[in-house]
């Protein structure tokens, strides 16, 4: 132990006590609170229009909103009645497109993530998937028109429109599934490899069970995207008006044309004279509401599956 050590003087080199505030420090504090205020303002700025839009829609739509509005078909040259024909059309289109895109997308993603080696061929596929996910929907629409309506001779039909939506959602499903697969810790795969599991046993036994929540969430989010797009269905199978029965569950065949919510909203606002004021708003609310519902379901599913796994 040193006995000659001086006790530390309670003063810094410039004579101030230790830990005292400096001018520079105060400036940093001011910057800190300014930054915080700016970020908060931007967040509010972002939320405000969203709230305003939803509020405005709901207020304007209120007189028309009812269960009857959902179940009834458009009447009197679409100036009255409900939206059943369009609602059920959208459900059909989305369901068929996902029934096609989800299995193909998930299996392709499994191949790319678990089997494919890092060759130039696979790199090109990767690049293609990423870029396709960013292609505007009108391009998919034109592709669908050429490929399914004309070349494959499906004509303007539920089939052609669904397949077009499938082509549009496929690359995004592949990308989100790959992300979910890549999030499974390597340690789990190692554990399998080192007891002699084949790749498929590893995937089925460990990788898929631990990524299913992410995979499903990615797929469900594509439901709302497919439901909301207008162009791909307008070019390939959705029509202005189609007579169906009120509340009928199977109004369209695969080779029929159909109505769709997004298209219906566009038509109501641009093509139909003298439509009751609340009806387009109510249609928008239904579209928005179903998208929110589906997204909420995705979040709920994710939380539920998350809580079951811990690592």
């Amino acid at each position: 132990m040193r006995t000659d050590a001086q006790p530390r003087v309670a003063a810094g080199p410039d004579g101030r006590p230790p830990f005292a505030e400096t001018a520079y420090g105060r400036r940093k504090l001011r910057q800190e609170s300014a930054a915080r205020a700016v970020f908060l303002a931007m967040t509010l700025l972002m939320v405000a229009p969203l709230v305003a839009i939803v509020a405005h829609l709901v207020v304007e739509a209120w007189p028309a909103l009812s269960l009857e509005f959902l179940l009834d078909v458009p009447r009197n040259r679409m100036t009255e009645g409900g939206i059943w024909s369009a609602l059920v059309g959208t459900i059909y289109l989305v369901a068929i497109s996902l029934a096609v895109a989800a299995p193909i997308g998930v299996l392709a993603a499994v191949y790319l993530n678990e089997y494919a080696k890092d060759t130039w061929f696979n790199r090109i596929i990767n690049l293609a998937v990423i870029n396709l996910a960013g292609v505007p929907s009108i391009v998919h629409a034109l592709f669908g028109l050429g490929a399914f309506v004309y070349a494959a001779r499906f004509g303007f039909s539920v089939m052609a429109a669904s397949l077009t939506l499938a082509i549009m959602t496929l690359p995004v499903i592949i990308a989100s599934t790959r992300e979910a697969l890549a999030a499974v810790p390597t340690a789990f795969r190692e554990a399998c490899w080192n007891v002699g599991a084949s790749r498929w046993q590893t995937i089925r036994g460990v990788v898929l069970p631990n990524s299913i929540s992410g995979i499903l969430t990615g797929i469900i989010l594509q439901v709302s995207r497919a439901a909301g797009e207008t162009a791909p269905v307008m070019f390939t199978g959705a029509v202005l008006y189609k007579a169906v029965e009120r509340g009928s569950l199977f109004p369209y065949y695969l080779d029929d044309q159909c109505m769709a919510l997004s298209m219906h909203l566009y038509v109501l606002t641009t093509q139909v004279p003298n439509v009751a004021h609340a009806i387009p708003y109510a249609t928008a609310v239904v579209l928005l509401g179903s998208v929110l519902l589906v997204n909420a379901a995705a979040i709920g599913l994710r939380v539920w599956l998350r809580n079951r796994k811990r690592w």
């Binding site: 080696k117 890092d118 810790p185 340690a187 789990f188 795969r189 190692e190 554990a191 399998c192 490899w193 080192n194 007891v195 002699g196 599991a197 084949s198 046993q201 036994g205 460990v206 631990n210 796994k309 811990r310 690592w311």
Partner: protein, 260 residues
């Protein structure tokens, strides 16, 4: 387990070279690892210990672009022979990792996981599985603590128990060799001691190769010790001799702590 006649070695390599892409990670490694003994593998970070370990069950090939030349024989069999099944090889040469990596399943399912992989479903009756679990957990000293908690999630156990479980889940496959890659580095003193005791317990029945960063641990647990440097095998002798009278200057410098 079933010892093939002639050779005293469970694993032999001759002039083993390995490249990751263009980077050579192993350079002419020739080594014989004795049956039923514990062999430790020491050397500074990045010298290729993990790489060498992964050669013994050819699992390196799962980690990207790898090219190998030279021979590796396990139990007297060239593991690069055309008719060698990687599945059977890895069944008999299992690995334990740095971070315990039980699967996110119950304790019970973790132990029988490998068994399920290798046996057609209908041969796996409940009693067979129950017996395999009890035997593996007893052999690793977990049975007393876990026999009433077989349905808890393995990932909720203490780290030390998780690591023992990772050893236990290899045993129903009746492996010949157990490779351990720094099995204690995530564990505290107690956990380390427990794993080392377990290794001593398993010694003789299984050939164990352990990579370790702790020279003290190598001295405590191993019969033979291999010192590696920059992808080369520098020295391989009885552990006691290697630490007492190292033959190579580089080994001497390493165990004196001049680098690593």
């Amino acid at each position: 387990m079933s010892a093939p006649a002639a050779s005293p070695f469970a694993i032999e390599t001759r002039a083993l070279n390995l490249w990751y892409g263009s980077f050579q990670a192993l350079k002419g490694v020739t080594v014989g690892i004795r049956h039923g003994q514990i062999t430790s593998l020491i050397g500074p970070s990045g010298c290729g210990k993990t790489t060498l370990l992964r050669c013994f069950n050819r699992v390196n090939e799962r980690y990207g672009e790898v090219r190998t030349t030279g021979d590796i024989e396990v139990l007297g069999r060239n593991i690069y022979a055309a008719d060698v099944s990687l599945i059977e090889l890895r069944r008999s040469v299992g690995m334990v990792f740095q971070r315990p990596n039980p699967l996110p399943l119950t304790v019970y399912e973790n132990v029988v996981f490998a068994l399920r992989l290798h046996t057609p479903g209908r041969q796996l009756t409940r009693p067979t599985l129950d017996e395999a679990v009890e035997r593996a957990l007893t052999e690793t000293g977990l049975w007393k603590d876990l026999k009433d908690r077989l349905r808890t999630r393995a990932t909720d156990l203490q780290l030390e128990q998780q690591q023992k479980l990772c050893i236990a889940r290899l045993l129903p496959l009746r492996p010949d060799v157990i490779l351990m890659d720094e099995p204690c580095s995530a564990l505290d003193v107690e956990g380390t001691r427990a794993i080392e005791d377990l290794m001593a317990e398993l010694r003789g029945r299984y050939t164990i190769v352990i990579v370790t960063h702790s020279m003290a641990q190598a001295r405590r647990v191993s019969d033979e010790c291999i010192f590696m440097l920059l992808g080369e095998l520098v020295e391989h002798r009885r552990t006691a001799e290697l630490f007492l009278v190292p033959q190579d200057r580089r080994t001497a410098e390493y165990i004196e702590g001049r680098y690593g």
